[in-house]
């Protein structure tokens, strides 16, 4: 356990350097959340780089790579801070005992999740059959085991899936010194906590009410704590939600900067920085790549500015190496094999099965989705004008999921039964956040923030 915690601590420190290097001043809570997400991706990325360079993994080699990258990021951060005028954030100074109680309850939820995640060996079948199996094979090979990925006997492992999660397991295993599938579960509460810190901070900054921000964070905490421990849903949920919400924030910051004529202030979040998280989502699972595409299209719809979409290049840069590897080794996606469009047309006859199946998958959390829909209905105009980015992203992602479900060769009913509860969980946090922001407008009748679609990012 100590070794696992050490691997988490090292990843966090590396992430702090990445956050520092971005040169953006933000509240401590958000910085901590971002630091974990970027740090563990950086550590996994270092293993990927070593593997591509043909260098066998060892803890010392991995630490050297991470230390070098961390040092470079620290130097970049120091140079930025020395040359730019800092806009210190004043958020986080308005705590109250009510918000502290909500925050403690959120912490207790995550503590319970952590106990559950580390109660025993990871038992999800997709961990045993895919994510954990890959990580274990890579660990034994001390690198990406190409012959294992290419083996015709293991076609259930989805060799095409991006490797960030298996490499994350391997990062921790390097510290453990042996394969231990119990303590790998400790990574999951870290992902949940990280995205909750980001949500908590964004809500407080935006709505100005620590009590309301803490209450919403408590309500959303179980949605951040993915019950599928050992598979990619937890990290994907964290990276995807963080990416979309930070992108939303970046667009607002840029509009606010242009209005106040202080473009480039260090208080503003950049689109490029926000897109790092979308890139990590794309490096986690194929659905993350779909999310990146959905977010890019949603950005186009929201800003009506094609040039702004190009600023998502860091996300593409993170996702691209694996796409290249995939193409070189011909790791095909099962949904794309054969004639997927013919299957979509054929399965379209079963659309009602799909819709009924999706409705059934919400049954465990139907109150949650009723809350989201109620918030959208009550604030429809605001939702359309101000929350277009998130809503279009969620809508497009669900549309992609529907098309993917119709292209399956395994039967629509089967796929809905085994996939859609997870697919809905992937967008639940984004939807819940948006509902909370919208309903705060109903509650407080507050003045409207800048309209993202109003041309703030339109070409000048």
């Amino acid at each position: 356990m100590i070794e696992t915690l050490l691997s988490i601590a090292v990843a966090f420190v590396a992430g702090c350097a990445a956050v520092f290097g971005s040169g953006v001043r933000r509240p401590l809570l958000r910085a901590m959340g971002e630091a974990w997400l970027l740090g563990i991706a950086l550590c996994a990325g270092s293993l990927f780089a070593l593997a591509l360079a043909g260098i066998a993994w060892s803890l010392a080699r991995a630490l050297i790579v991470v230390a070098v990258v961390t040092a470079v990021l620290m130097i970049v951060g120091l140079r930025r801070r020395a040359t730019e005028e800092n806009a210190a954030s004043d958020a986080g100074d308005r705590r109250s005992w009510v918000s502290a109680i909500f925050d403690l309850l959120t912490a207790a939820t995550i503590a319970g999740y952590a106990l559950l995640a580390t109660a025993g060996p990871l038992a999800e079948i997709d961990f045993v059959a895919m994510w954990g199996l890959k990580a274990r094979a890579f660990w034994i090979a001390r690198g990406l085991d190409w012959s294992f990925l290419e083996s015709p006997w293991y076609n259930w492992i989805h060799a095409d899936y991006p490797p960030l999660l298996p490499l994350t397991f391997d990062w921790t295993t390097l510290f453990q010194g042996q394969w231990d599938d119990r303590w790998l579960g400790a990574l999951y509460p870290c992902f949940a906590l990280a995205v909750l810190l980001i949500i908590r901070s964004l809500l407080e900054e935006e709505l100005g009410s620590p009590v309301y921000a803490a209450a919403v964070t408590l309500a959303l905490a179980p949605a951040a704590a993915s019950p599928w421990i050992g598979i990619a849903e937890g990290p994907l949920l964290a990276y995807g939600t963080a990416g979309v919400l930070l992108l939303r924030r970046a667009l607002r910051d840029q509009i606010a900067d242009r209005r106040s004529q202080i473009a480039g202030s260090t208080g503003a979040l950049s689109i490029e920085y926000a897109s790092l998280f979308l890139g990590c989502a794309a490096a986690t699972k194929n659905e993350g790549m779909a999310l990146l595409l959905a977010a890019a299209l949603a950005m186009l719809v929201s800003t009506r500015n094609r040039a702004a979409v190009w600023r998502l290049w860091p996300a593409v840069a993170i996702a691209a190496p694996w796409l290249l590897v995939r193409a070189v080794f011909s790791f095909s996606t099962d949904l794309a094999r054969g004639q997927p469009w013919l299957r979509v047309i054929e399965n379209a006859r079963h659309l009602s099965v799909l819709m009924h199946g999706i409705a059934a998958q919400t049954s465990g959390h139907y109150l949650f989705w009723i809350g989201v829909i109620a918030a959208l209905v009550l604030s429809f105009r605001r939702a359309v004008h101000e929350e277009r980015l998130v809503l279009v992203t969620v809508g497009l992602l669900l549309l992609f999921d529907v098309i993917a479900s119709l292209s399956t060769a395994q039967g629509v009913a089967w796929l809905v039964r085994w996939s859609w509860e997870r697919l809905l969980a992937q967008v639940a946090l984004m939807a819940g956040f948006t509902a909370a922001v919208l309903i705060d407008g109903v509650r407080a009748s507050r003045p409207q923030p800048p309209d993202v679609s109003s041309g703030g990012l339109a070409p000048r």
């Binding site: 207790a108 939820t109 319970g112 999740y113 106990l115 559950l116 109660a119 025993g120 060996p121 990871l122 038992a123 079948i125 045993v128 059959a129 954990g132 199996l133 274990r136 094979a137 034994i140 090979a141 083996s151 006997w153 293991y154 259930w156 394969w179 119990r182 209450a215 919403v216 408590l218 309500a219 959303l220 905490a221 179980p222 949605a223 704590a225 019950p227 959390h365 139907y366 109150l367 949650f368 989705w369 009723i370 809350g371 989201v372 109620a374 918030a375 009550l378 639940a428 819940g432 509902a435 909370a436 309903i439 705060d440 109903v442 509650r443 009748s445």
Partner: protein, 146 residues
Amino acid sequence: MTWRTAVAALVLLCLFAGAFQRAYWTIFGADRAALQAWLTERPYSKMPGLRQFMTGVRDHTRDGDRIAIILPARRWEGGYAYGFIRSTYLLAGRRTVPLLNQGDQPLPANLERATHLAAWGVALPPIRGFEPAWRSPDGVLLQRRR
């Protein structure tokens, strides 16, 4: 309290109640040892004893060994895939090979190329070219005769 505040509180309550996961709170009073034992066996629950047997096979083989898996199931989707996938995880580093393809046809060539045979839940007759390397109440590990 205005109606707006009441509606907002109601929506927030829906989000809270809808997302709530009881397990994250009941875990504090749960029997963690029993939970650990259950989680350990859960992926293998349809083939009791498979985990222990394949763990033993792992102890008696080395990375790179090519192990053919023999299971009582005669169909890929009728249990063979279940046992083969789980055996592959437990024997990661070794190369497990199936003796049945996804169309339920036998793959004798894999037997020819195997360095070991791990037979679980099957009474195995003597197989030419192989000799017993290790035995447990659940199965037997054969290795190619040198």
